[in-house]
């Protein structure tokens, strides 16, 4: 297990009254994504718990691209990962942010 933390410059803050949303399932090769509003001065904080050790640089690259696409801020994103590939991670994050904000990127 490895714990990774990232912060990104945000975009438009998400409405603070949005309810927390959970997307995806922590099954083999998959991940669950919990998105919560948080007062982070417009930034995005991401915490990853992953079963696959040693892929911090790839997480950084995937998450950077996702939050360049999604100009959102003031959210806390918590991820439990059971060895998902970057393709699955990106897809699940898009779904999670869509679920949370009620709209597309």
């Amino acid at each position: 297990m490895e714990r990774l933390e990232y912060e990104f410059d945000g975009g438009a803050p998400v409405a603070p009254r949005n309810r927390p949303t959970l997307t995806g399932v922590l099954g083999s090769g998959n991940l669950e994504v919990l998105v919560e509003p948080a007062d982070l001065g417009g930034r995005v904080r991401v915490e990853v718990q992953t079963a696959a050790v040693g892929f911090g640089a790839i997480w950084q690259a995937v998450l950077s691209d996702v939050f360049a696409r999604w100009q959102v801020g003031d959210i806390r994103v918590s991820i439990n990962d059971a060895g998902a590939t970057p393709a699955v991670v990106a897809l699940r994050l898009d779904q999670a942010l869509s679920d949370h904000t009620g709209g597309g990127a």
Binding site: A52, A57, G83, T85, L91, D94, G104
Partner: protein, 544 residues
Amino acid sequence: MKEWNRLGQNRAARMDRAASLARGKLVAPGDTGALLARVIEPGDRVCIEGNNQKQADFLAKALAALDPADVRDLHIVQSVLALPSHLDVFEKGVASKLDFSFSGPQAARLARLLSSGQLRIGAIHTYLELFGRYFTDLTPRVSLVCAAAADRNGNLYTGGNTEDTPVIVEATAFRRGIVIAQVNEIVDTVPRVDIPGDWVDFVVQSPKPHYIEPLFTRDPAQISEIQVLMAMMAIKGIYAEYGVKRLNHGIGFDTAAIELLLPTYAESLGMRGRIATHWALNPHPALIPAIEAGFVESVHSFGSELGMEGYIRARPDVFFTGPDGSMRSNRALSQTAGLYACDMFIGSTLQIDLAGNSSTATLGRIAGFGGAPNMGSDARGRRHGTEPWLRAGREAGQDGFRGRKLVVQMVETFREHMAPAFVDRLDAWELAEQANLDLPPVMIYGDDVTHILTEEGIANLLLCRTPEEREQAIRGVAGYTPVGLARDKRAVENLRDRGVIRRPADIGIDPKLATRDLLAAKSMKDLVRASGGLYDPPAKFRSW
């Protein structure tokens, strides 16, 4: 006086030695070992019919049980090594040299035997290449083949799994070799004659029906949403774009997803009758919904597939079937169709390098590739024009008039356990050094690959004009692998502007719509129901 019939005289001597064991052509199962010991001579080239599915398992075991004091130094010329007995002959010293095509399940043990010096490998061939050598410098002296049934005259009925039998028997019988067949049953009259009896010397009824493996059954329940996305990209970005009608598919879940998206997604694009009409393909159960939806006009097969017999019998307009109703497959002829008469091959791989070379070879395993290199190569001698072939030729900017076969490699950028599919150097090179092979076991040569499709996009290598462009096009769809992260971002954006790289959005595909709901069947049971109950899957694939 020059003697012109030494082969015939040698054959006669062998037949004389064995005569007392046979009644007519029939040999009792208990006499099989004695038969082999009498007709096989040390140093012979021997072909054991072991193809992808159908296995002459009883004869293979009998061969492995021979005493190396009587029979040794055999040169095995066999397309597929699938069973432990196929390697036992080397471990025991009955055989010492091997020419073959594919050894999937035995690949690790083969590598061990090679490194311990218990066998020498001539070459790892494609199927057609090995079959070609049966008729030139690797003609078998004795062949051990496999059929469903025989009559007392030696006429063989193979049923749907004709596979390699015709090519093996033809090469052996017409060069004064000896053909021994194992059959599941002896009957008065075979349902149809797949191999004429006068090409067959001995028939043994095996105590158990021959082994057969359902190799081409993919449970739709295991298809992921990423595979659905990639299938959508293939259909819209390649099949529809080029109007590909004649094609071969690989055997993985990626291409099974395409088969299951034809009646849904391709139908919604108005593609019925315009793509994927004529196939060189085994009877994949995943193709049933597309057949039922009227997409498919014909399917010619390398071999059959367990459980599909009843469905094939009920769809004679689609499959090649005999007057008895069962399928007639033929590996050599279907491979020829795949090489010369298909406009596209699409399949998966394990590794792709920066030149587009792709390989499923991994360290410690010597597996070969069977038919993929035949289907996945441009037939440079081809003469007939079709729109997809001519368009691919135009895109490649070649000398004005010749076309190109579309050869598509379809991979997720990472496999399970985060193994990258894109690498700087294929494991095949190291394997070649370790095993002292003449050339690295590359499955599809880079200069034959026309498109690489990943979840990140489609790289059209035909449009690349320099090796540098080609490398950046490959890096551009390699995602977050080290190879992908090392791309030149400006060069890749430039390639995207020119349409060399196309992202899902560039072909009008929203990844969020790529869900399993698009699959025409989500389970094995859906396939059975789509077939009207005619498909009867093996027990290991059931959940009802």
